[in-house]
Symmetry: C3
Subunit: 369 residues, 3 copies
C-alpha cells in the first residue's frame, strides 16, 4: 500500500504541477506546440476580431430614427416662344413642395396652355414621342389621308417637342439645404448634420465641403450631379434620379464630435443610352374656371431630377452584457483548449508514472533475482 500511496501522491502532484515538470512538456513537444498554436489562434480571434474589429464589447443600435427636412433656394426666369415669360421659384419647381426626403426638381418643361375639353385631331407624331400617354378617347372619325383620328380630349393636345437644351439650365446653381436629425433611441443620443452655431450668417453663405465645411448642409444642384459622376445639363434636359446617402456610423464610446455624417452621391437610374428607358418626366395640370364657370387648364410636362435622400446608421456603446458574453465565450474557448491540454498532459504523466513504476518494480523484481 505504501507504493500505491506514493503512486497517487505522484498523480495528484502531477495534477497540480504538471506545468513545472519540464520533462513532460519536453516529451510532448508535438502536443504542446499544437496547443499553443491553437491557443494563440483563439486569443487572436477573440482580441483581434471579436473585440477590435467587431467591437464585441458594445451594445449595438441599428434602428436609427431620422428626420429630413429639405429646402431649395433659387429663382429662374424662362422665356420660351410658346409659353412666354415664366418665373420659377421653389414653390413651383419643387414637387411636392413640402420639404420631403424625396422630391423632384423641374429642369425642363413643355407647357400646353388653355386646354379645354372638346374634339380635336390626334397629334400623329405624339405616339412616337411619348410612350404612355395618349391624350384622349377616339371618336371613330379618322382622316385616312393623314392617318390621324379625331379624339375627345383636352384640346389643343400637347404637341411640342422636348427642348434639347433645358429651359431651366440655371437650376445648376440652385442650392438645396438638407436638415437631417438622427436619434439612436436606445442610447438617447441625437445629432444633426447642421453646425450648432449661433452665427446665422454662416448657414446663409456656406457651401458643403467634405474637408472644410462638413457641417454646412447646403449643396449646389450642379455639384450633386457632378459628384454622382454625371453632367448637369445633360441630365437636366431629359431628367434622372440622384441618390444622396447620409451615413452615421457612430462609436459612442468616443467623443460626441467623432460621430459625423458621411455623404455619398450616386445616380440611381442608370442611363443605358436607351431613349425609352432613360429620363424622368411626368405631367401635371393647373385647372382654372372662366367667368362662365367653364373649366380650362394648363398642362405641364415636366422633366427634371428626382433627389432621394437615404439615411443609414448604426451606433455602438460599451455595455457590460455583450462584454461578458464576448469574454465568456473567449474564456470558454481558451478553457476547452487549456483543459484538454491539462487532461492530456496529466494522463500522459500518469501513464508514464505507472509505466516507470512498473519498470522500476520489475527492475526491482529482476535485479534481486
Amino acid at each position: 500500500t505504501t507504493t500505491e500511496m506514493a503512486g497517487w501522491g505522484t498523480f495528484f502532484f502531477s495534477l497540480l504541477n504538471y506545468k513545472t515538470e519540464k520533462y513532460v512538456i519536453a516529451e510532448n513537444r508535438k502536443i504542446g506546440i499544437l496547443f499553443r498554436i491553437y491557443q494563440l489562434a483563439v486569443l487572436g480571434y477573440i482580441i483581434g476580431w471579436v473585440f477590435v474589429m467587431k467591437k464585441g464589447y458594445q451594445e449595438r443600435e441599428e434602428a436609427i430614427q431620422s428626420s429630413v427636412i429639405t429646402k431649395l433656394k433659387g429663382v429662374t426666369l424662362t422665356n420660351s416662344s410658346e409659353s412666354g415669360l415664366h418665373l420659377w421659384s421653389a414653390e413651383d419647381y419643387v414637387i411636392p413642395p413640402n420639404g420631403e426626403q424625396v422630391f423632384f426638381v423641374v429642369t425642363n418643361y413643355i407647357e400646353t396652355p388653355n386646354q379645354r375639353l372638346g374634339f380635336c385631331a390626334e397629334v400623329s407624331g405624339h405616339i412616337n414621342e411619348s410612350l404612355l400617354s395618349p391624350s384622349g378617347i377616339k371618336t371613330g372619325l379618322c382622316i385616312n389621308s393623314t392617318g390621324t383620328c379625331e379624339i375627345h380630349a383636352w384640346c389643343p393636345v400637347e404637341h411640342s417637342k422636348r427642348p434639347t437644351v433645358p429651359l431651366m439650365s440655371e437650376a445648376e446653381n440652385f442650392t438645396i439645404y438638407i436638415k437631417n436629425f438622427i436619434r439612436f433611441p436606445k442610447f438617447e443620443f441625437s445629432k444633426s448634420n447642421v453646425l450648432d452655431t449661433t452665427d446665422d450668417s454662416y448657414l446663409k453663405r456656406c457651401s458643403y465641403d467634405q474637408v472644410d465645411h462638413p457641417y454646412c448642409p447646403i449643396f449646389r444642384l450642379g455639384d450633386l450631379v457632378k459628384w454622382a459622376g454625371h453632367d448637369f445639363q445633360d441630365m437636366a434636359a431629359k431628367g434622372g434620379s440622384v441618390g444622396i446617402l447620409i451615413e452615421w456610423y457612430c462609436d459612442l464610446d468616443k467623443d460626441y464630435s467623432q460621430c459625423n455624417p458621411q455623404y455619398s452621391f450616386t445616380r440611381l437610374d442608370i442611363n443605358l443610352n436607351n431613349s425609352v428607358t432613360s429620363g424622368y418626366n411626368f405631367r401635371y395640370a393647373r385647372y382654372y374656371k372662366d367667368q362662365n364657370g367653364e373649366t380650362f387648364r394648363t398642362l405641364y410636362k415636366v422633366y427634371g431630377i428626382r433627389f432621394d435622400i437615404m439615411i443609414n446608421g448604426q451606433a455602438g456603446k460599451f455595455n457590460i452584457i455583450p462584454t461578458i458574453i464576448a469574454i465568456g465565450s473567449g474564456v470558454a474557448l481558451l478553457g476547452i483548449v487549456s483543459y484538454l491540454h491539462d487532461i492530456v498532459a496529466e494522463l500522459e504523466l500518469h501513464c508514464r508514472t505507472v509505466w516507470n513504476k512498473s519498470i522500476l518494480k520489475e527492475n526491482r523484481v529482476n535485479y534481486p533475482l
Copy 2:
C-alpha cells in the same frame, strides 16, 4: 534503460502511425465510430449548410439602392348625372402625379362643385356615411324638428352617396409602367427590370408575363388586383391598398442574366368585412376665383387603390475573406475532432503498450519461476 527507450520508441511510433495499427482501431471501435460520425456531421454541416446553402464563401450586400419611376397610361370618360362629363387622364387620377413609388389611382369619386364659404344646414345623414369629416363649425342655430344645425362651412356641403358601381370602372384596363433600377454599390453591379432593347415598340405593346415577358414592366391594373387575389370592380368601388413587391436575390458569381427580378402582389389592407375599417378614400379641393376675386372650390372625395411598390434585394459574390473564415472554422471544427481522436488513440495505445509490456515482463518474471 533499454526497455525504457524501447517504450518511448513505441510511443512515438504510435504517435505517427496509429492509423496503421489495426488492432488499436479494432479495439477502440466504439470511439472510432463515434469520431467518424462526428467528423461526417461536421463535414456535412460545413459543406452542405455553410457552403452550399448559406454560400459562406460569398461576401454579401444587403444595402440595395433602388430607384422606382412609375407612369400610368389610360384615359376614361365619366358621365354622372350630378357632375356631368369628365375626362380623366393620368395627370388627374394619379395622386401624386410625379411618378413615385407609392401612388393612388382614383377609381370612384363624389364631386361637389361650386362650394362657397357661408352658412348652410348640416347634412343629417352625413355623420353616418363619413366617420371623420364633419364639414364645418356649428353656429348654434339648430332646427329641432329635423335635428340638423346650421354650420359655417363650404356650402353646399357634400351630400352625395358613394356610387356603388365605380364611376371609373374602365380603370381596370389602365396600365402601369414600373421602371426599377437597382444597384449593389459594394459590387458595382446595377440592373433594371426593363428589357435592354433597341426595339422601342416592344415596350409600347408588351404586357408583363412571368414566363414569356419577365422584362416587360407593364401591368394592367386589373391583373395586379387579380394576382393579389381580389376583384378589381369590388375594390374600385370602396378603395384599397395593393403591394407590389420586387425582389432581387442575386448570385453575382453566376451570369448577369441569372439576376432577375421576382414580382409578388398582395392586398395590404385586409378587408375584414367591416364597413368602418375597409376602403381607401380622401378629399381634395380645387380652388378658383371668380371675377370679383371671391374664392370658390370644387371638392372631390375620391375612392381608389393605393399601390405601394416595395423593393427588396440581396447579392452575394465570391470573396477570399469569408471563404477563408468559412474554411478556417470548418478546419478548426474538424481539427478539434481529429485531434481528440489522435489524443485518445495515442493514449490508449500508450497505456496498452505499458500494460502489455508490464504483463509481458511479469510473464517473463513469472515464467522463469
Copy 3:
C-alpha cells in the same frame, strides 16, 4: 493470456459502467466537478438563452408588410387682419391630402394674396427672416438710400412676419385616425390596429388609451405632441417633426390576442434653441387666372408639424427546423463535454487498472518470494 483477457474485460466493463464505479469518480473529483459545472453552464445557456430568451425553436419573420392609411378630422376658422376669414378643413391643412404615412399638418401660416408677375422692391428685412428664399431676380436698379433693389418677381412680395401665436391653435384638438394593417407573409398572419367591432359608433367616439382603448387608433394632435415631450402651442408656432412608432413584436405560438401594437412617440427634430435650424415650414401657391387670362396667385408660407408614422415588427413561430438545429447544437455541446468526460474517466480507469494489476502482480510476484 488469462490475465490479459481479464484486463480487457475490466476495460470494457469500465467503458460501459464507469459511472457506477464510485471510486473512479471519487478519485477524479476535480475533473468531475469541472465537467459538471461545464455541463450545467452549457445546459443553462441552451435552455435559458437559446430557448427561453432567444426563442431558438422559432422560425423568425422580419419582413413585415404594412399599410398605413391616415385621416384627419377637425375644422378651424382663422381670422387674421391681413387675409380675412379662412375655414381650414382636412383637405386644406393636411399636405399631401392623400392619407399617407408621412404628412404635414398646417398650424400657422402667412398668406400673400393676389401676387402678379412684375417689378417691385425687394423687402429689406426679408433676408433676415427667411434663410433660403429670395423671391425674385434683381434687375440691377437699386435705391441706395434704403438699400433695397428692384426685383422681377411675384409682386407684392411676401413681407409679413410669422405670427408668434399660431393662427390655428385649435389644431391641438384635431384628431388623427391611423389605420395600420400588418402582414407576416411567411406565416400568413395579418392584423390591424383597429378594433374588429361591428359597433361603428365606438370608432367615432373613442380616443386612444394605452390601457383602456389600445385598439382605438384615434389620437388628439395635442396628446401626440405631449407624449413626445413637447408643448403643442410652442411647436405649432414654428413647426416641427413628430415620429409615431408602431411596433408589432409577435409570438405567434401564443394566442392571436397576444399580438398587439405598441405605440411610441418622439420628436424627431431636436430643437437646439437655434433659430436657424429649428422649425418646419415651406411655401406653396394657388394659381388663378383672371378674365383676361392673366395669371395671379396666392402664396402661402405654412408652418406646421410633420408626422412620420414608422412601422416595425417581427414575428416568431414554432418550426421544426430551427428547433432541431437548436437542440442539435445543444446536444453537440453537451455531447462533447460528456464524451470528453467519458474518455478521461475511461482512460483513468484503464491506467488505474493496469497500474493496480501491475502492482498486484508484482505483489503476487513479491509475496511468494
